[in-house]
Amino acid sequence: MASTRRTVILGTLGAAGALAIGWGVLPPRQRLNTAQALPTAEGEVAFNGWVKIARDGAVTVTLAKSEMGQGVVTSLCMLLAEELDADWSRVRWQPSPIDKIFNNISTVVDGLPVHPDTDNAALDVLKWLTAKTMREVGVMMTGGSSSVKDLWLPMRQAGAAAREMLVAAAAAQWGVAAADCGTENGEVIAPDGRRLGYGALAAAAAQQKMPASPKLKPPERHRLIGQPTRRIDTPGKIDGSARFGIDALPEGLLYASVKMCPTLGGRAQRFNDAPARALPGVKAVVGVEPLRGGTGGVAVVADHPWRARKAADALDVTWAHGELASFGSAAALERFAQAARSEKGYAFFETGEVEPALAGAATRIEAEYRAPYLAHAALEPINATVLFEGNKATVWVSTQVPGLARSAAAQALGLPDEAVTVNVMLLGGGFGRRLETDFIAQAAAIAKAVPGQPVQTLWSREQDTRHDLYRPACVARFEAGFDADRRLVAWKNTSAGQAIVPQVLTRAFGLPGGGPDKTASEGAFDQAYEWPAARIAHVAVALPLQVGFWRSVGHSHQAFFKEGFVDECAHAAGQDPLAFREALLQKHPKQLAVLRAVAKAAGWGTPSPAAPDGAKTARGIALHDSFGSTVAQVAEVSLGPDKAIRVHRVWCAIDCGLAVNPAGIRQQLEGAVVFGLSAALHGGVEIVDGQVQPSNFHDQPIVRLAEAPRVECLILPGKGQPEGVGEPGVPPIAPAVANALFALTGQRLRSLPLKLA
């Protein structure tokens, strides 16, 4: 999901960290062995930090990424099981402990603010250095559509290393050469056909020397990777046994409800706790400060969640509304619009001479696009459970950042990080909200008041909506110039909005943030289109409102802006939107192939059939690169009563490099279309005087089943390593729908959510 692409860390920690430690003594890059051996159950042995095998042959894979719906349980187990030649039906998983080998490296490396076509040796060195450094000083993080990519090498190596050790143990037992033995389906096979199961071999195999460089299979020998594979985490999710953060039920659990300042970032000035304390079951009333980007308030701890909620409602609090008391989202958007019009911003990408090209153009068009602040609206409301026991603590939480979660709790409790144990639960949706630790620090501060008893702090849906860290609003200006033959000669784009990364550095690491934040401009500057002349810039406007990563981050709105204006350019040039894009992609076969595949599947260029009720339909197309993958979508739309926008069918093509689990990729793309459609049709939070207006699903709707389109997915055979999958399906849907609406109605919609006049 959303990323913590920390460009500043790259600049500072990447280079400075290397200088401080020194090149030669940088620690090894190995990501196989944890500092402390994995804890094992009776009869189970650990081969490295990633895999344990039990006497009965059960294989337990370490899950170092959080499962939040994106299917990492299945895809990551596949990586290891492939090289282990495991019996897939015997593969289990277990959340990882916190260790450096589990730090996310690929997201940070990919966070460099450079165009993907950039090719120079200095960049390669910086990437290498950053990878090495991030293993030491990075964080465990599930985000940036990076899980499979980040663990592609280490988890396969871990499986291959264990396999070689099992083979060595069997060969020794049989007195044959290891090279003459094979493996298949959880067994080692001798040259004469005898077989020994991994379970029987595990204890002896763990004594074998770990191979320094385990040999990996060439892709053509993959038996599991590349096969559409059903999720292995489904059974618990349909029988009530799956455990999310909210389902942590340690013995003696108490429940906390918080009354938070209605103004974001505000705090309780004073409060009268007598009415709440008088209510049955109330154990404690605790004032909580705004922590890590959150809002302050007063918490009630009670013996029952309903009692805690009612008692919190009964609190009489006088608020100190703080610096956001006069913040309004409408004014913020106006300020961004002004900045995009009048300021130059930081140019993330420039080619040719855009100003002379514009000045010399025969015709020019310009437009302004807008996107609102957005809440994450994961279905599992924010919660965390904390047990404080004086010199140690235990946390149960749905989080994308276990290490930061531990630090947040430790800091709130006044404990060293090592004294806090974090149990990562299943996430009832993350989408970037659970990259934040405001609520974990808050839950820890509350639990501190009731030592020895676990306390679950649960927010209401209304609080979840109103105390989010929102997808930043953004405004983009575009100018394009055409020559006398209506060929595009210039593309100028300046967007303005808040930058996320500097805020994250401050609230999560206590560091001052600065420097260009790639996430602000990603989706605008880093695309494949071959502009004759272009300048693509972003103006970072510093505002106190806390903003966060939201599934696909900058791409979530930049794709809407860019693909909308590309469509406008196509019409200005008098060309078909598909042909216009093709002409700008002559040196980009990957993007061309994806675009053509989706167009073919959707029947682009043929008449669009009538909707089931006979209404006229039209199609729109969009193409977007994000997280290493290329996605193109075609949406087929019609209008219902009261100009209701209806999306009937969506065709979606992706090139995501090597497709590890095609079944999982299809599932993610379908889900991403629906997720993105909620933002396209309904999304947006209005903030007045620092207070978020919508509260629950009635005034902050998401797409319902009846509104969901049919989605047809195509996975192109990609080259190279696996690229991102969880997010790339989100960005193109809003522009595909907007472009279809233009084709249908002639109205060009430049603001989200989409509303026809």
Binding site: G236, A377, L379, L426, A672, V674, L705
Partner: protein, 152 residues
């Protein structure tokens, strides 16, 4: 606090709770039946769906006292032919993503199939549009209900 005799998953259970406590919280915190989820507290999302005398209800917005004398069935206890068909279809079609809403989806789907063994798309729209899924599993929910229907 009041002691109330409830029938949960065909078992008689004494539940001690304030009578206005939503059924959801009585199930979750008293009975530790956490399959039904809190999502909105207002009957807007369906994550808390359980059956009351075989009908799908939103347990977040119904007081526990209103369930006295009625048969409560949760995801942990449902074992009807419809439930077996639905769960099998959910596995074959790989419906679930994060899974948080899925207990409620399965309970709503079971109630639908019990009353309409061969639902049309419009029936599915009507019966399932009160169950929100943020991961966007709707196309597969629709397909899985049709598949379950065919297997019944």
């Amino acid at each position: 606090m009041k002691t109330m005799l409830l029938n949960i998953n065909n078992q008689a259970v004494n539940v001690i709770a304030d009578p206005d406590t939503p059924l959801l919280w009585a199930l979750r915190s008293e009975q530790r039946l956490v399959g039904a989820k809190y999502g909105c507290g207002k009957g807007l999302c369906g994550a808390c769906t359980v059956h009351l005398d075989g009908q799908a209800v939103r347990s977040c917005s119904m007081p526990v006292s209103a369930a006295v004398g009625r048969r409560i069935t949760t995801i942990e206890g449902i074992d009807t032919p419809e439930a077996r068909a639905v769960k099998a279809a959910w596995r074959v079609i790989d419906v679930a993503q994060c899974g948080y809403c899925q207990s409620g989806q399965v309970m709503s789907a079971c109630a639908l199939l019990a009353s309409k063994p061969a639902p049309s798309d419009a029936d599915i729209d009507a019966a399932m549009s009160g169950n929100l899924c943020r991961c966007g599993t709707y196309p597969r929910i629709r397909a899985a209900i049709h598949l379950a229907s065919r297997s019944l």
